[in-house]
Subunit: 583 residues, 2 copies
């Protein structure tokens, strides 16, 4: 039985950084080579980063992607890595890239994988199934491929497919089965969602059985605007055995030796929806060096740890990849700002996190002391700017009462944070949670100001859960829990008027989150929410709040998606919209 | 030759307002009946409004659309209109509406047209070509139809198709030809773009020739978030003769008598990509009442008038459809705020427009006098709030210098406008133009605050052109030109520091707009911009500014699209993006 030493390079590319991403591929190809790999695979569109969105329509960019691929093939060979076939995702186009212009025959844009060896592109594969739901718009960008390349590597027939090809039944994996391949490599840019890793393993097992072959899944890691990629690269056999699995949210080289069936003459030409083409690179496998690599299976972590890592990665990469090194945020003493600060400290280090307490006449003593306590626990930079002089200046010159006066306080705080950002060069973090975004419980241009919203997709009850987990995890490691206990246990309040608490205007968060999960995440209607046992008045109030807040969400900062349906490109609703579940 | 009196109802529905839209259809069906119509057509998805975006995935909404259609059919009959076949666009779904769940066989969501008569749905057609480019995401929402319904109405074979079906060659129109239909009705939700009306007429003529039939095109009017629909309904014969054409940006009933070929037995069953099905409603035409209706051909207007109407409609409908009746905006004395104010006055009446002059120590005398002059010319509400006390309060409590201090002034103005909005209930208008959005020449949460951006898609040079046209048009009608001449002729300045003018940091606007048209609107790369004759330093500076401002645009208010590529859903670029045309 031929043996291949497969290396899956779970790396973190940057969208648009062709030079940097090519260097990243070279660097990890060297590591794989040093580990004795005889076949290496990188993620989907690793050379361009993913998703590149409308950069697809820039002819210069598409041309640069192809040039970068050719240069990369040459560089791999020049650096002594030409003998190791290396699979790399990139953007391909031979013809017009403008929207609607592309078709397969005229070489329109394609989400592509190349197998590089000996300084050449030995084979290419174009993604067949294009996702066009949720956060994905691939029908907008790509022409689907209709051919499966089977490459004989070390005497094994290897097919490469891309991401969504795995999620759809039929198509390339069924054809891989007909073509009798011994190994299917799936390269991915598959964004994290809570619980997706469980689905992913089951799916890989099912598809490996369909393909009748060992299946290797390599995914990128890192943050890209609203998305965060978790890696979780893995290898399963056709009978469903998990051979190896990489950790989530860390760059990693997953290396293992695979005994694979020797290739026999197989199908060429049309098969199902595709055509099979074949290339022979090598008929016999180079021996893999000692010691054998059996692969490792990284432990799964609890959900809170997984989400925390997702948020740390999403926040840290947004800051770094956009050229910032520090962040500033308002510290109210509440749970949301405390969790955001703790995330920022984990992502960037305390020395790069600037907290500002901005008390008003309505701020309680514990707000100020809890904020100071957080600063002391985490070591972040801390200062206090009282807002009264600025608020008073507005009130002396304008008649603002009630809600207008409440919002004024939040907006003065926003102006202060933006001023510090402009003066000192920090990125502003906005600390709203998903429950607040849902019901519009925020002041536009007030507490909503910021370049990034670390917990935008985290519902309030999960914010508390994460805080408790993070503190317990610190304690278990003998470290100081970062989040003041009082911030976790006290009743949430915006403190914009005397004695205000969130429960004055919102149902308690357990109930609110349950209703929102049905209405927002699952797109259920009023009747289904009522059927779940909630009071009509409460349900109607929450649904109206959600519908009415669309204009605020439209102007909100991006934040890391961790749920099945995050606010942003995942959920596209008109602002002008008279549909109401309640009449 | 049978004769039909066709009525095309160019109406203005509201997204989500099923009851209101059904009432609108009934009202205009009555008018058509009074005009003696024997066939009536309404626009694409008139019953739901268009585009409904992710409302498609709400099962309750899809069910309500179908129920509203049944009720409408019954109401038409009950009100004595059952004899006049009426074509109505709606959202159809028999099965699951969740993303990815739909397929034709399981009744997934469809963009549908029903022919209603005698209280029944006589025939349905499902949109075959789904646009998934530019502002459109229809592959996300709809299952394509694969059947063409031919309905015999008054002895004429009539086929109905929907919008994109007209823009693609082949498909339903080719099949209509094979089926030998005498009249093709195209129902549309086709957003306005400058010069699209010219393309539309030529296209209708070409497709009428392909179908070998008279072609009637009915489009909606009105604003929906970023989109504005211009109507421009028209009828052309197979030989390209324009028989009738409605005005743009106004609700209108276009009525005309058509002599059409008598139906003969034609194709049924598979034809090209579709299947033809046939229904006979009436074998002979009811006589049309005297006098004959020859149709009218509305005059085309100059481009400036067309764009002005688009902007007035987009702004007015955004305000009204979102439940506001008044707007507030800052008046700087400059051209952008003057044009926005004039648009608002045209859209809502001067009594509903509140202008605020917010001078600083850097504001010139002419800024204040030009703003006051504008107020006097238009009759809008006018007040002055000096910003110095608030700016000083911040500067006394925070160290802010340079750009941070400049931005502070803009943000204090933003807080004032938002305060007035909260206190008095006006929607805030933000007055940035497309050139500014492109290069990020604005202060985030400062002059960018607002619920709607009337000239977001109008480049600066076109802003001036519109102002000159609007003034000249007023003068020609013996009215007071609304825009102070000084606002048009003086050099543009943000007035955030002494003596500042835009040309300190930007190329002159003629050149800037020319570069932006290539880089943004046409997605050309650096080499193409250089080839157009611009200096490398200037080009590189502009391209860098555009790339860097993506984060600001992401948080910007919606504004009316008038160009081929507007900022918003038309142009989807990552914020985290290291691709630079210049290295």
């Amino acid at each position: 039985m031929p043996q291949l030493r497969l290396a899956l390079a779970q790396v973190n590319p940057v969208v648009g950084d062709l030079d940097g991403n090519a260097a990243l591929v070279l660097q990890w190809a060297h590591r794989a080579h040093e580990a004795g790999a005889t076949l290496i695979a990188f993620p989907e569109m690793v050379l361009t980063g993913y998703p590149v969105e409308d950069l697809v329509f820039r002819e210069t960019f598409a041309a640069a992607s192809k040039a970068a691929l050719r240069d990369l093939a040459a560089a791999l060979a020049a650096e002594g890595l030409g003998d190791v076939p290396t699979i790399v995702g990139y953007l391909d186009a031979d013809g017009p890239v403008q929207p609607g212009a592309g078709s397969e025959s005229d070489g329109g844009p394609r989400n592509a994988a190349a197998l590089l060896a000996g300084g050449e592109m030995v084979a290419t594969y174009y993604k067949h199934h294009l996702p066009n739901y949720g956060v994905f718009d691939e029908d907008r960008y790509f022409v689907p491929g209709s051919s499966l390349s089977v490459v004989r590597v070390g005497g094994v027939d290897v097919a490469t497919v891309i991401c969504e090809d795995l999620w759809q039944s039929g198509g390339p994996l069924a054809v891989a089965h007909e073509a009798g391949v011994g190994l299917v490599i799936v390269i991915n840019g598959s964004p994290y969602e809570l619980n997706k890793d469980d689905a992913r393993l089951e799916l890989a097992q099912r598809r490996a059985a369909e393909a009748g072959a060992t299946l290797a899944y390599v995914n990128m890691v890192g943050g890209q605007d609203e998305l965060v990629f978790d890696g979780d690269s893995l290898v399963v056999t056709a009978d469903g055995t998990l051979l190896a699995r990489a950790p989530q949210f860390a760059e990693h080289l997953l290396v293992l030796d695979l005994d694979l069936p020797a290739a026999s003459s197989g199908l060429t030409g049309p098969a199902g929806e595709l055509t099979v083409s074949r290339v022979t690179l090598s008929e016999s496998a180079a021996p893999v060096p000692e010691p054998a690599r059996l692969g490792e299976i990284a432990d799964r972590v609890v959900d809170e740890a997984e989400v925390w890592s997702a948020l740390v990665t999403g926040l840290g990469d947004y800051v770094r990849k956009n050229g910032f090194s520090s962040v500033v945020l308002g510290l109210s003493g509440g749970i949301d700002s405390a969790v955001c600060a703790a995330l920022a400290v984990d992502a960037l280090g305390a020395q790069n996190v600037y907290g500002v307490s901005m008390p008003s006449g309505y701020s309680s003593e514990h707000s100020k002391s809890d904020a100071a306590d957080l600063a002391e626990r985490t070591g972040l930079h801390y200062r206090t700017v009282a807002i009264a002089p600025m608020v008073d200046a507005f009130l002396s010159n304008l008649k603002l009462t009630g809600l207008a006066e409440e919002n004024l306080q939040a907006r003065v705080r926003g102006v202060i944070l933006m001023g510090l950002s402009n003066e000192e060069g920090h990125l502003v973090l906005t600390t709203g949670n998903k429950s607040e975004y849902a019901v519009g419980y925020s002041t536009l241009y007030g507490d909503s100001v910021g370049g990034f919203a670390p917990i935008k997709d985290v519902r309030k009850t999960l914010v508390w859960q994460l805080a408790r987990w993070r503190n317990a995890d610190a304690a278990a490691r003998g470290e100081t829990p970062p989040i003041p206990e009082a911030s976790i246990t006290k009743p949430p309040s915006a403190e914009l008027r005397p004695g205000q608490v969130d429960s004055d205007s919102l149902p308690d968060y357990e109930m609110l989150d349950a209703i929102l999960t049905l209405y927002v995440d699952a797109d259920r209607g009023r009747a289904d929410v009522l059927a779940a046992g909630y009071e009509a008045d409460t349900v109607d109030r929450v649904l109206r709040l959600v519908d009415h807040a669309e204009y605020k969400r439209r102007q909100s900062a991006p934040g890391t998606k961790i749920s099945l349906k995050a606010f942003g490109r995942d959920r596209r609703l008109p602002i002008t919209n008279r549909w109401r579940e309640t009449h």
